[in-house]
């Protein structure tokens, strides 16, 4: 690893000599390790991102830029009659996912952390749904939520004497149910990250608190939460970013219906591109999503910094 710590030969151009070349050679292996990631990020992340942003300002034919049209694609998608509802839906996805999915992994991680026996079993159980492929989980739940008396969930609640529900086809329930499926699949991996963070907390703190007579709630409030607060913040932002781009769950479970009740921004972008071959508009949706998420992230970090400096 010491090769990685070598200073980069930034001044080499002005003082070329055997010493500098030796230094350059020394850092060569470090660069060689970096190059694959650099190429990977350039080819698969930055270049598409940049090309996409540029193309969103053009009239397109397939993926070819035909004519620079400024913000017209953006204006077109924002003024489209489904955009407003889609934008609102996307915020609803985030709201419900925070409501369902933000505290549960923290609580589960704390509970597993407190468990003294069978911790591995609980870790596995919690992580297990995360191993189910996403599309498979979405299709599985779509069949569970099948409306009518023949649906699996309706048949089960029918045994309890409860009337069948339309589940995903009730426009008020569609988004919460899709988010419930996303949470079911995703909370385990988040809980494991919290757990890893919790297990890094110095046990002496707990022992000292216990000696001072602190109960479990006081220990959680004064030790656990402050110790994992930075990871909580990062996972909050990641969750917002992830859910804001929700695509395949509504695509496979409802196709954005009924009557666009579960249409998300990413699904709208997907439909612009794949169904109508309107690449410019699709990329404009991507650009809008990108800007919103960037603003959210910047605001979060600014707030966080302000709070920390207080």
């Amino acid at each position: 690893m010491d090769a990685m710590q070598q200073p980069l030969p930034v001044r080499a151009g002005t003082e070329a000599g055997p010493f500098v070349w030796k230094k350059r050679l020394k850092s060569l292996s470090a660069w060689l390790f970096v190059v694959p990631s650099l190429v990977f990020f350039t080819v698969f992340h930055w270049q598409p991102l940049l090309s996409g942003l540029i193309l969103s300002f053009y009239k397109t034919k397939g993926y070819k830029a035909v004519e620079f049209i400024g913000f017209r694609n953006y204006v077109d998608v924002i003024t489209n009659s489904v955009f407003q509802q889609t934008f609102y839906n996307t915020i609803l996805y985030v709201f419900w996912s925070l409501l369902f999915g933000f505290f549960i992994p923290i609580a589960i991680a704390i509970m597993i952390n407190e468990v003294r026996r069978g911790q591995s079993f609980f870790k596995f159980s919690v992580y297990f749904p995360g191993m189910v492929p996403g599309i498979a989980a979405a299709l599985l739940y779509a069949s569970i939520f099948e409306p009518g008396s023949g649906g699996i969930l309706n048949a089960l609640i029918g045994k309890l004497g409860i009337a069948p529900s339309n589940w995903l086809q009730n426009s008020h329930l569609t988004i919460p149910l899709i988010v419930a499926v996303m949470t079911w699949r995703g909370f385990g991996s988040t809980a494991i990250i919290y757990l890893a963070s919790l297990q890094g907390v110095n046990h002496e703190l707990y022992e000292a608190a216990a000696l001072d007579g602190a109960g479990i709630w006081k220990r959680i409030r004064h030790i656990t939460i402050p110790q994992i607060s930075s990871i909580v913040g990062i996972l909050l932002i990641l969750q917002i970013i992830g859910v804001f781009q929700v695509l395949y769950e509504p695509l496979t479970m409802t196709e954005g219906g009924p009557n666009n009740a579960s249409m998300s921004l990413s699904l709208l972008g997907y439909q612009y591109a794949f169904r109508y071959f309107r690449i410019g508009e699709s990329l404009a949706i991507g650009g809008i999503t990108f800007v919103i998420l960037m603003i959210v992230t910047i605001v979060y970090y600014r707030l966080n910094k302000a709070i920390a400096s207080d």
Partner: protein, 477 residues
């Protein structure tokens, strides 16, 4: 070089290897065109250039028609030794088309349907095949209405393969259980949409199965709604003073949407799940869960192939009449060539089309393909010998084809005759402007009336019409 540096080279070597692998794949894919362009056979004539023809017009590995396709491949390669055909099964799918087209991975020849060429041509993904259409006589032989759908600015981009007008499918098993067969064992076809609703209700009451299937996803709901709405007297787009106007907020359109709503809430004959597409329809129809559905002839073997439905359990009639008219939507299938296909590959595609019996020629060789196909279908107990619209206008060709259909027919013609005669039905093509976007808009309102008992068809259509005008037609005007 010391040991540490040697280790350091590993990632670079891996990277170079990966790049080499990528470029090798690219070379493989571009091989077809480079082979075609660079390698010449001994004679040196353009006809004799060696060509690798990447054919998407193929079947799945487990398809029973595979031996037939293999035989056609052998026939093509034997007759034209300079052509080497690579099977590259590609069923057209909106989810995969764009990435394949953009990355140059489309097969040279692929099949699609008439709802698609507009956007494919607009995006520049289809090759101009005008000279080949002229050379092989398709331009004169193909039904001009079909040819119009694949022509843009005087250039032709597709070979129409088969046409259809919508009809209604009947599940004979459920009709039998419901006591709705006549003396000859033929379903009593409903002649009006009201009769269709009544028939669907009888099926639901007598069998407990759903009377009618109506899709609502993937723009298919809007697409099928056209048949009903036109028959109720509704129109969708009109040109006034050179400008396009959305006009489906009419009382007729409202009445048609109310009809769909009634199928759910008054007659209760539709499946419980209101978010369904045609694949769900095949499943439900093929497994005796649904009595009737809108259908086209080119779907006739989907339930037979995929759900082991008996070929004798399907019947088909012309669409019912509405209060104002009796209209069926016109559609069909076509073949297109990828924009990166070389002239030699396109030529090979036309030769393939002839081998499988889909060329306008009437000689025995050209008819053999159709005969082979029907013989193969018949031997596999697929529905054989019934058809929709012929793509040809030359009588000699259609007569010759009809004779072959008659020869290999393996179903009771009484079950299909009503559809094939299609008497009293007006056939209409898709609306000229933004048809897919219109279908999407209609999908949404159909979903709304099927999932919300209190949804008001008029309010929904007023909004949908205003939105469609603002989002699409105003921009086109």
């Amino acid at each position: 070089m010391n040991k540490r540096k040697a280790w350091g080279l590993i990632p670079l070597v891996a990277l170079i290897a990966a790049s080499a692998a990528c470029s090798a794949k690219n070379d493989g894919n571009s091989g077809a065109s480079s082979n075609a362009a660079s390698t010449a056979a001994a004679s040196g004539s353009p006809e004799a250039k060696n060509v690798v023809f990447d054919n998407g017009d193929w079947v799945k590995d487990d398809d029973k028609q595979l031996p037939q396709y293999e035989a056609w491949k052998t026939a093509l390669e034997t007759e034209y030794p300079n052509i080497k055909m690579t099977p590259d099964y590609y069923p057209y799918d909106v989810n995969t088309f764009l990435p394949k087209a953009e990355s140059g991975q489309l097969p040279n020849l692929f099949s699609t349907y008439f709802t698609e060429p507009d956007k494919i041509i607009n995006a520049g993904y289809a090759a101009d095949i005008t000279s080949f259409m002229t050379k092989y006589g398709y331009d004169k032989a193909v039904n001009p209405d079909m040819l119009k759908l694949v022509t843009r600015d005087g250039k032709i981009y597709g070979i129409p393969d088969s046409g259809y007008y919508m009809g209604i499918w009947y599940n004979v098993n459920l009709f039998k259980q419901a006591g709705l067969l006549d003396d000859k064992g033929v379903p009593k076809f409903p002649r009006t949409y009201d009769e269709l609703a009544q028939t669907a209700k009888i099926i639901k009451d007598k069998t407990g199965k759903f009377g009618f299937f109506f899709p609502t996803e993937n723009n298919q709901g809007g697409w099928q709604f056209m048949n009903i709405a036109w028959s109720y007297g509704a129109e969708f787009e009109q040109q006034e003073g050179g400008k396009w106007k959305a006009v489906f907020d009419s009382p007729e359109a409202v009445e048609a949407l109310q009809y769909i709503k009634d199928l759910k809430w008054k007659y209760d004959v539709l499946p419980d799940n209101a978010l369904v597409n045609i694949d769900d329809g095949f499943r439900m129809f093929g497994t005796d869960q649904v009595g009737m559905a809108f259908a086209t002839t080119d779907w006739k073997n989907n339930p037979v192939n995929d759900y082991k439905m008996s070929k004798d359990a399907i019947a088909m009639s012309a669409v019912p009449a509405g209060p104002k008219a009796r209209v069926a939507l016109f559609g069909g299938n076509l073949r297109m060539f990828a924009n990166n296909a070389s002239p030699e590959q396109i030529d090979a595609g036309f030769k393939w089309t002839k081998i499988i019996g889909k060329s306008p020629d009437v000689d025995p060789d050209s008819l053999k393909g159709l005969e082979d196909k029907l013989a193969s279908d018949q031997s596999q107990n697929r529905v054989t010998g019934v058809h929709g619209l012929s793509p040809w206008v030359n009588k000699e060709k259609t007569d010759a084809e009809n004779a072959i259909y008659d020869k290999y027919r393996n179903v009771n013609l009484d079950l299909w005759n009503d559809y094939m005669k299609n008497e009293g039905v007006t056939i209409k093509p898709e609306v000229p402007m933004n048809a897919q976007e219109l279908y999407k808009q209609l999908d949404s309102v159909i979903q709304a009336v099927l999932t919300d008992k209190n949804a008001d068809p008029k309010t929904l259509l007023d909004k949908a019409t205003a939105d469609f005008q603002k989002d699409y037609l105003d921009k086109a005007n």
